[in-house]
Structure formats: C-alpha cells, structure tokens
C-alpha cells in the first residue's frame, strides 16, 4: 500500500513573529522553521503502520510550498519516510488551495491511506484534511488519538468532552492526527545520513486558486503591564479587595 503523509513547514512556535511590509504575510527573516508538530504525529503513525503491515508498503511525504519546505521533507525522510514530493506554489494558498493541490497529488500517487496533522500551527485553520477528503471522496476521521488498521477497516478513537468516541471507516481514508496519537521517533543519525540518498520530487502544484484572501495581519494589542501591590502580607487584603471590587472575579 502507498501511504501519504502531508506535512507543512511552519515557524517554530517559540519564534518571535514580525509582519512583512505588505501587511499580509509574516516576515521570514530570522524565523526558524520546523515541521508542523501535529504532522510529526502523522509521520510517526504512517511509519508505524508501514512497519506493522511489514509488507512492501511505502510512505510518501507531500508538502506544498517552496524550496524551503525541502528542509521539512528531509526531516520526514530522516525519520524513515521513503520519498518526498514538493508541490511548488508561487504565492501563499488558503486551505482550499492547499487541499486541492494535495488531493491531486494523492490521487496521482494512488495513496489510499493519508495521514496529516489536525492543523498547522501557523494559520490553525484545522480544515485541510477534511477538505482534501471531500475533494477526493475519501472518508475522513479527524483529531485522532488512536488508529488501528485491519485489512480495509479502520478504527479510530477521538477525544470528546468527558470521554472517547470510537469511529470506524474503510479505506480510502484521511486521518488527521492529534497530540497523544503516538510519541514521534527521533530521526536517528543513520536515518539522517540515509535521507541524503532519498529523492525529493519537485513539481508545480496543480493550477490552484484560493477562495479566501488575507486582507491583513495584525499583532495582538500589547498587554497592560501587571501591578505590584506590595511584597509582604499586608498586600493580601488589598489584593482581595481589588479582585472583588475592581476585577469582580470573586
């Protein structure tokens, strides 16, 4: 079986973000990029699935973006993914555009099982998996914390308020990964060395367009600085008074 894992290249969550001059994009200067953390769970699950099947299954990583995404694809190859595909785009697409590009490639590759993170931590739309499945007419189980494959049958667990939901589906299917699905492996030193010999196919994404347009990015308003009421026990009464009368939280 061919298993696809879709990965995105996102700013490190610890990076300080600045807005570019056009006011619509982030300024990439000085930003460290990483593989989207939820996609790491997806990579791990794809690799575990391949290992469990123990047959000649292969795992293909697909990423939509530009040359920089190759770093992220290499990370997946170092973890054990067999090959990579970079779908190049000229300008940033919205979720629908990305879903269309991914769907086209998944179809071309003939992948019946697809893993991806439940969301990318850059724009957090949490919708690419579902859209891709709709375009392909695949099943989709989102925000998955447990995955089992038995022949054509899939059983997944999803976290819901106060419990778990068990969902069944059949291949072809797209699974979006939630934290807790697994513990992603480290890229081993051997894996990193052998990733050099694996191929990353580069091609242009299918003609795509976005349904939505980003009009502007804005930073959140600066937080008001905190107030120090005092440093000894006499401040407690004042704190209680303010919590009651000013903040009205107790």
């Amino acid at each position: 079986m061919k298993i696809a894992v879709c990965i995105s290249h996102v700013p490190d969550t610890a990076t300080k973000i600045n807005i570019a001059d056009n006011g619509k994009e982030i300024d990439p200067a000085g930003v460290t990029y990483i593989i989207n953390p939820y996609d790491e769970f997806a990579v791990e699950e794809a690799l575990t699935t391949k290992e469990t099947l123990g047959d000649d299954s292969e795992v293909i990583a697909i990423s939509v973006g530009n040359d920089k995404n190759k770093e992220t694809i290499k990370k997946a190859l170092a973890m054990g993914v067999d090959s990579g595909v970079l779908l190049k785009i000229e300008s940033q697409l919205d979720s629908f555009g990305i879903a269309k590009a991914l769907a086209e490639e998944i179809k071309a590759q003939g992948c019946d099982l697809v893993f991806m993170g439940k969301q990318s931590v850059d724009f957090d739309n949490q919708i690419v998996g579902q859209m891709t499945s709709a375009i392909l007419d695949y099943s989709c189980i989102s925000v998955v914390v447990d995955f089992k494959l038995d022949g054509q049958d899939i059983t997944c667990e999803r976290e819901i308020e106060g419990g778990k939901e068990v969902v069944a589906a059949q291949l072809p299917c797209i699974i979006t990964a939630q934290k807790g699905l697994n513990e992603p492996r480290y890229a081993s030193l051997k894996g990193i060395m052998s990733a050099k010999k694996k191929t990353i196919e580069e091609k242009s994404a299918v003609e795509t367009e976005s349904n939505t347009e980003v009009i502007g990015l804005k930073k959140p308003p600066a937080k008001n600085p905190g107030r120090i009421l005092g440093t000894d026990s006499s401040a407690v009464h004042e704190l209680v008074r303010l919590l009651r009368e000013e903040a009205k939280v107790i």
Binding site: T32, E71, K74, Y186, S188, L189, I192, M193, K196
Partner: protein
C-alpha cells in the same frame, strides 16, 4: 522541555551542512527531553542513568563515526563532534559514556581487531546491548602509561593477565574491557570479558565530579584471555594513544556544550537578577564576564569546525588535537567557575546546572591527557624538544 537554540555569535552554522545541523538538532532535542529532566537527581545520587543506553543506541549515538557495515551511521567528524557537544550540554558523564563506548572501545576493535572481532562486537556495542570500557591508566601510572605494570604472559591457548587499572569510566557496568598490558615488554590490547575468571571491576566511590558516570577499578588476578581475544593489529603504546586521540577530539567538542549551557544560564540570570534597582547584567563587571564567555565560546566553535574538517581530510596532527583539548577544557572550566560567580549563592544550587558542570570539568580537564601533558605535547611539536621523555 527547555528550548535551547544554541549560541552562535559568528554564524558558524553557515559552515555546517544540512545533515550536520540535523544531527546536532536531533541530539539537542534528545538531551532536552531525556537527559536534562533527570540529570540532577542522578548526579546527586551518584548514579548513571542506565535506561538512556537503549535510547542513545536507537538514535545511533554509539560509535556513529564507524561505517554502516557494522551497524553504525558513518558520520563525518564534524557531525560526530556536534553530537558530543550536545551530549555534554546535558552532562559530561553522559558524553563520557558515549566517548568511551565509541572512541575507546569500538574504535580500537575497529582499528586493531580481526574481522571476526569486528563482526562479533561492533554491532552489539553500537546497539548498546554490550557496554565497553577502556583500561590504560593504572594506580601508579597516569600521565606516563608506558610505565604500566599490567602484564600478560603467553600460556597454552591464550594469555594470563595480571595487574590493576584505575579511573575506568563504565568499568562496573561493562561487558567487555579493552585492556592494555605488556607482553614481553611490548604494549598489547586485549578484549577481557566480564565473565572471565579472576576479573573484577569494583566501583570507585566518593567522587565529587562526574557523579552521573560510573568510574571503576579493574583488577586482573591471573585472568586467562583466550588467543582470539588479543587485538591482533596492536603493536605498542602508540595504539592506546591513538584511541586517546580520538577521545580527546570528542572532548574538545564536548566541553563547548558545557560552555554553552553555563553561558546561557549566567546570561539569563544576569538579565533577571535585580540588585541596586537594576539587573546585574547592567553592571560593567558582569558584562565583562559575559563577553569573555562569548568570546571564548566563539573561538572554540571555530577551532572545532576547522579541526573536524582537517580530521575528515586526513591532515589533522595529534598535537593539534592536544591544543584544542587543552584550550577548550581550560576555558570551559573557567567559564563554569565565573558563571557561578555571576549567580552568586544561587550558583551552588542544583536549581542551576553550573556547579555540576564546574565539578565535572575538573575531571574533563584532567582525563585523556592532563592540561600539563597537552602543553608538553604541543611544546614538543613546535620546539622539537620533548620535556618529558
């Protein structure tokens, strides 16, 4: 998890390949996730975190610069050095474990062993299924290993080994020891297995340094070593010194990891510690120290990368490794001690890693050739006069 991003004032990362950066980052994350949360507890209890061995093996940290045919990763020397740097950011004891297994056990088997020995031991050692140690230093022979008293005598089917080795990292947890002893006056290497009768490896207690690492004595009392366990390509004292040279190379890189964490800790502390109504980072005397740390870190980083490139292209002399080991260990210890000063009383607490690194570096400055011996090695190289032989 700490979110260490490295210290790189002169963009030395631009001198690295993408694979080298990935390897560094993999080990960095491993240290942040697996080593740092538990190291203080192990250090204070005087225990080596044994459960890390399979994890280190799985990532490929044991003998990674040896070829793939023996189950190793085939790294170049810069990547190997970066790995050591990241491990020692965690703790010198963790780096020592990897140094001994790779440079002092797997390297001599790879270099001086028979094909049978390589095929038998290297895959087991790289998987962490067997642990090794290296026995050269003796109670009465440290800087002058040529004076060793450990002796082997040829007997039917093998050798009888007698002697004592001292300050042996991993000794009590080792399945095999690479032991150096004199056979008819010539230094030869032997693979001694822990089951061999007459061999014991009691742990040395009461250390104030490298407490998260096992250090032992090795005692050989009429130990019979079969013929197939002599390292057949050993020819003399220069062989164990070649092993030490490998380990010194790793140490020169490793201690930069200790420098980085001391510097980062001192810098963050100085920016948040308020005295006289301002952060102590605003005082000139603190800035002088911090700038000194950064300067020495930068020099060591550049030296290491160049040393690694020279090792990869086969032009590195052992005296150059001595210079790097000597300089980097001394500067790391100095940075650890001066970082402690910036943290004041807090510097001695295990809430911060500094005192642990400072105590560790006392050993690191001494083992694999003391500071003084490396001075004399470089001294001999540039003057042509040996001051010790």
């Amino acid at each position: 998890m700490d979110n260490f991003k490295g210290v790189d004032y002169f963009n030395t990362e631009s001198l690295l390949t993408q694979e080298e950066i990935m390897i560094r980052d993999t080990v960095r994350i491993f240290v942040s996730k697996q080593v740092l949360p538990l190291i203080e507890e192990h250090y204070s209890k005087g225990k080596f975190p044994m459960h890390l061995i399979p994890q280190m093996a799985e990532i490929g940290l044991l003998g990674p610069n040896l070829p793939e045919e023996y189950g190793c990763a085939g790294l170049n020397n810069v990547a190997y050095g970066l790995m050591m740097q990241e491990l020692e950011r965690g703790d010198s004891g963790i780096r020592s474990f990897a140094s001994v297994q790779g440079s002092l056990v797997m390297y001599p088997i790879f270099t001086f062993g028979s094909e049978e020995q390589k095929n038998k031991w290297l895959p087991l050692l790289s998987k962490g299924e067997k642990i090794g140690c290296f026995g050269l230093t003796e109670p009465n022979h440290g800087s002058n290993p040529g004076g060793m008293e450990t002796k082997a005598v040829k007997v039917d089917g093998g050798y009888l080994l007698n002697g004592t080795k001292m300050w042996i990292t991993n000794g009590s947890i080792a399945d095999i020891a690479i032991v150096w002893g004199k056979l008819k006056g010539k230094v030869m290497g032997f693979i001694v297995e822990k089951e061999f009768k007459g061999f014991s490896a009691p742990e040395i207690r009461g250390k104030h340094s490298l407490r998260a690492s096992i250090t032992s004595e090795l005692i050989f009392d009429d130990v019979f070593v079969p013929d197939e366990n002599i390292l057949p390509k050993t020819t003399g004292l220069k062989n164990p010194l070649m092993c030490l040279n490998q380990a010194r190379y790793g140490i020169a890189w490793g201690v930069v990891g200790a420098m980085l964490t001391c510097y980062e800790t001192a810098l963050n502390y100085a920016k948040s510690r308020i005295q006289f109504e301002k952060p102590i980072a605003a005082f000139q005397m603190t800035q002088e120290k911090l700038v000194y740390f950064l300067t020495e870190i930068t020099k060591s980083q550049l030296l290491n990368i160049q040393m690694g490139r020279m090792k990869d292209n086969g032009t590195l002399k052992f005296a150059q490794v001595s210079l790097a080991k000597r300089n980097n260990c001394e500067k790391a210890l100095e940075i650890a001690r001066m970082s402690r000063e910036i943290l004041g009383a807090n510097g001695i607490s295990n809430e911060y890693p500094i005192m642990r690194h400072s105590a560790n570096l006392e050993s690191v400055k001494t083992y694999e050739g003391t500071h003084e011996m490396h001075t004399l090695i470089v001294g001999e190289d540039i003057t042509g006069y040996s001051a010790f032989l």
